[in-house]
């Protein structure tokens, strides 16, 4: 039986921590004097009070969480926290509806980067920082952060982190204690982010832009403080730096962690996904560049390569930055990029989609079935990096693929039924479910999701949450078995 009381108790603590996170934009607002100060005062106060009240109300129910409680905690965290995160937006922008604000914060925390806001350049810096900070926090995970800061989850912490961490195989603990693992992951995340900020500054951004875009890049989110996204900078150097850090953030942070600790590159070679991920993305860049050049979109190959690299890496890693309106390219290019976003990033990275490791397992499973037809008696293992993968993991991946496909179809149909054209409907769902951001048609890189009505916006919000929590962690809460004693 799920113990709602103790789950709410932990949630209250998460909320209180989250209230402190709002102090950062508050300070920025104070520093810039951008007029949004009052919004943060209120937001911090409301969030903290709500957390405190909830905590006081559930104090007596505090118990060690069980794995099942973990799923509820994760589901609640990821739906309740974005609601509180809307406070600064709603208070500062009275015209913004709750639907759109909630879409915006979910988009941030799930690292999607789809936005309903326009006129970003005119927004107060603190609001833009808040948006990108949500991406950054959501990238590594709210619960992971809670586990890292507070030992409040005890042994159940690993189960709960598992519900939040993307990828099919989560049993490998990097350190003996889960708190240490969570801390280690966050430390590596912070270090790489700092490196990203400095590189972006060195490449020519202002400090503010560097911080905001580094947050957005490392979380593979795609929020920008400019309407034109990276088109605003017109700087190959900035694009190159961003490409590099997007590629880095698309690799499993567990692998980064091991590489940092051993100060060696070997863990990357042993990673079963990193190689395939880089190969697919880089080959796609070259292929698309050649395609654009051959179709005379750009006058020379170098320009084609520059735009192709940035946008392909951005979409394939599910970031969603753009340096140009790639929806104007011949249709093969953007569709291929959307296809890449479905599977290119590694498990344990900040990217979305079904993850490279699942794609690899699927390909191997398909090959295995074919070999099995020829050799009915053969016992053929599925191997990743020399290790045999248990069959139950393969089944779980198959089920995941099925649910993924089913979710995508159902939601596309819902959007189409509500009146969207099929290209917009399909690409919006692909973009949201993969936590990527821009789609094609009405939700293309040059436009925003403001074109959608409330119903359609809520569908997209749900798609982003399902995508970030990899379907099962969220869907399991809605099954009767979950609530049965």
């Amino acid at each position: 039986m799920v113990r709602v009381g103790s789950v709410l108790n932990v949630l209250s603590v998460v909320l209180m921590i989250f209230a402190f996170a709002m102090a950062a934009p508050l300070a920025v607002s104070f520093f810039y004097g951008d007029g949004a100060l009052r919004a943060y005062d209120a937001a911090v106060l409301i969030t903290f009070t709500a957390g405190l009240a909830l905590w006081a109300g559930t104090r007596g129910r505090r118990r060690e969480l069980k794995p099942r409680d973990g799923f509820l905690l994760v589901a609640l965290t990821w739906t309740v926290v974005p609601a509180f995160a809307t406070l600064p937006l709603i208070i500062h922008l009275p015209d913004l509806s709750f639907t759109d604000a909630y879409f915006e914060t979910v988009s941030g925390l799930t690292t999607s980067g789809a936005t309903t806001l326009s006129g970003l350049d005119k927004l107060p810096p603190s609001i833009n920082l808040w948006r990108t900070m949500l991406v950054w926090i959501g990238g590594m995970g709210v619960v992971v952060l809670a586990v890292a800061i507070l030992p409040l989850l005890g042994a159940g912490g690993s189960q709960i982190m598992r519900a939040e961490t993307p990828g099919p195989m989560k049993d490998t603990k990097l350190t003996p204690r889960i708190t240490e693992t969570a801390k280690g992951l966050w430390v590596v995340y912070v270090l790489i982010t700092v490196a990203c900020i400095i590189s972006m500054k060195a490449a020519g951004m202002t400090w503010f832009d560097a911080v905001a875009h580094a947050f957005s890049t490392m979380g593979l989110g795609g929020f920008s403080s400019h309407d034109e996204s990276f088109g605003h900078f017109r700087s190959p150097a900035i694009e190159a730096v961003t490409i590099f850090f997007m590629l880095v953030a698309g690799i499993n942070f567990g692998t980064h962690f091991v590489a940092f600790r051993r100060t060696s590159f070997k863990p990357y070679r042993a990673d079963p996904e990193a190689g395939a991920y880089l190969a697919v993305v880089i080959l796609s860049c070259l292929g698309i560049a050649y395609f654009l050049f051959a179709n005379s979109v750009y006058p020379n190959f170098v320009t084609a390569l520059r735009h192709a690299s940035f946008n392909v890496v951005s979409i394939a890693t599910t970031t969603g930055f753009s340096s140009t309106d790639f929806s104007q390219w011949p249709i093969f290019a953007p569709v291929w990029m959307l296809f890449l976003s479905c599977f290119a990033t590694c498990s344990g990275s900040t990217g979305g989609g079904i993850k490279m490791v699942r794609a690899e397992l699927m390909v191997r499973q398909a090959l295995r079935e074919m070999v099995r037809i020829v050799h009915p008696h053969a016992l053929i293992p599925i191997k990743l990096a020399g290790q045999t993968v248990e069959n139950n993991i393969v089944f779980a991946v198959l089920a995941f693929m099925l649910v993924y496909g089913g979710t995508m179809t159902t939601m596309t149909m819902l959007l189409a039924a509500s009146g969207l054209d099929i290209v917009t409907a399909f690409t919006a769902i692909v973009a949201c479910l993969n936590n990527m951001g821009p789609g094609l048609g009405k939700v293309g890189p040059a436009t925003t999701y403001a074109a959608l009505n409330d119903f359609q916006t809520w569908i997209c919000t749900a798609a982003m949450l399902l995508g970030r929590l990899e379907l099962f962690s969220l869907l399991v809460v809605f099954t009767p078995a979950f609530w049965r004693k």
């Binding site: 050799h375 009915p376 008696h377 053969a378 016992l379 053929i380 293992p381 191997k383 020399g386 290790q387 045999t388």
Partner: protein, 457 residues
């Protein structure tokens, strides 16, 4: 010599058997009294029931005045502990242990005098695997043995009609291959050995043993029989210790299929092997063999731990069209029954693996011993010591050495150089001499030749 053997399994028993026949005092220790009784009934030795790593049991086995302890229990750790105790507590001069796990062999210090103090680590499964791998590399050979760190090889080949040398005198080999120095060490016709002379004529069906520098081996074999197509496809029946090692050794260069009936074992195998195909089923199941195209196999190797199973699956595979079948057979009576029949090669594991161990037990400085023809004959590599006075061999021409009848000196390895023995070759100190003994009874006489100081006794 007083020898304590720990473990009376397959290896322990066969070691005991060959050592008893060489007149040693043997005590065998094992936890299984039934096994020990069987051994005691058959051979003239003493047995002690108990755990081989317990000091009291070792004492009871008389380890205090043993010259050598041979730890060949199933368990690596027991063997390691027993050897350490033998060195530390009982001062046994020579300690030999069977070590299966390659992990223990990776680091030299583990077996050093300070650590587990093992003079010789043997792994019968590995020796057997190497043996079979050689047979697959040289599919025409019945046996391929190496001496002097692989510089010299001895191959046993069955002569076939059509080989250039078949029907000719042995001395013609010189005319055929002027550049290659090879020596026919022995010829067996039926069960009788023929001492090879220059005018001996090789007939089809003879089992010819030739000795040559390793790089010339293929050329020499071509003289005696036409060469087959090189092996590409191998099927292994039995995925135990040997099957697994074999598949691991072969899978990079050959197309390997390995069959085992145990599902769990198959899972382990498929996890360990990269390109070999693991099949779960019975190796004597006709439909499985047919579905997996046994008729396309260049070599079918049966290495399960069951003799009958190996024999039956080999016979079946041969009937269904496998080019060459090799069976691992423990029982010596079966080996004699089947070799050269429908089964191309019958391997007796005891004979194949015991060589390195025997080399350690022998008097004189014997570097390598290989049993030939199921132990009836023997080839040994011995080191010549002493000088013209003390050593019986130093400074003598081959033709002057008084060898027992049925014994030939095949080759001499001097440093890096390989010299085929001719009647006027002079033996020097520190030469490695490869001696071919057609009858095992003559071995002690040969050993005596290599003992220093015999002249003064």
């Amino acid at each position: 010599m007083k020898i304590v053997i720990l473990g009376a399994g397959q290896v322990g028993s066969s070691v005991a058997e060959s050592l008893v026949s060489e007149r040693n005092d043997i005590t065998v220790v094992d936890t299984d009294p039934v096994r020990l009784r069987n051994l005691q009934d058959r051979l003239d030795l003493r047995t002690v029931v108990g755990s081989a790593s317990h000091p009291t049991v070792l004492l009871e086995a008389g380890i205090e005045d043993a010259d050598m302890v041979i730890a060949v229990t199933q368990n690596d750790e027991t063997n390691l502990v027993a050897c350490k105790l033998a060195q530390q507590l009982f001062n046994v001069p020579t300690r030999i242990a069977r070590i299966r796990a390659t992990d223990f062999l990776g680091e030299e210090r583990i077996l050093s005098q300070e650590c587990f103090a093992i003079d010789l680590a043997i792994c019968p499964e590995q020796v057997l695997t190497d043996y079979i791998v050689k047979l697959i590399e040289f599919p025409e050979a019945l046996q391929v043995l190496e001496f002097a760190d692989g510089k010299v090889s001895l191959v046993a080949v069955r002569a076939f009609q059509g080989g250039p040398l078949v029907g000719h005198q042995l001395k013609d080999i010189r005319k055929h291959m002027p550049s290659v120095d090879a020596r026919i060490a022995a010829v067996f016709r039926g069960d009788a050995s023929i001492l090879p002379e220059g005018d001996t004529v090789v007939e089809a069906g003879d089992e010819v043993f030739c000795l040559a520098a390793t790089e010339h081996i293929r050329q020499v074999m071509r003289e005696i029989r036409r060469m087959d197509k090189p092996v590409r496809r191998v099927m292994i029946a039995g995925g135990g210790n040997i099957g697994q090692r074999l598949a691991e050794a072969l899978e990079t260069n050959y197309v390997v299929k390995i069959v085992d009936h145990n599902k769990r074992r198959c899972e382990i195998l498929s996890g360990r092997l990269d390109s070999a195909l693991v099949l779960q089923g019975d190796a004597t199941d006709e439909s499985l063999l047919e579905a997996e195209n046994v008729d396309e196999m260049d070599i079918f190797v049966a290495v399960t731990n069951d003799d009958e199973n190996n024999i039956m699956s080999c016979l079946l595979a041969k009937r269904m069209g496998a080019r060459r079948v090799v069976a691992l057979i423990n029982r010596r009576s079966y080996v004699d029954l089947l070799q050269a029949g429908q089964i191309d090669i019958a391997i007796s594991p005891a004979q194949a693996t015991i060589g390195t161990l025997l080399a350690h037990v022998r008097r004189g400085d014997v570097a390598q011993v290989h049993a030939l023809r199921r132990g009836a004959a023997e080839a040994l590599e011995a080191v010549v010591h002493g000088d013209a006075q003390s050593g019986p061999l130093v400074g003598k021409k081959i033709e002057d050495i008084e060898l027992p009848k049925g014994t030939t000196i095949g080759a001499i390895v001097r440093g890096e150089e390989v010299i085929m023995a001719h009647h006027d070759t002079v033996v020097r100190a520190e030469d490695h001499v490869i001696v071919f003994v057609t009858n095992k009874k003559l071995v002690p006489k040969v050993e005596k030749l290599f003992q220093v100081g015999v002249g003064f006794v």
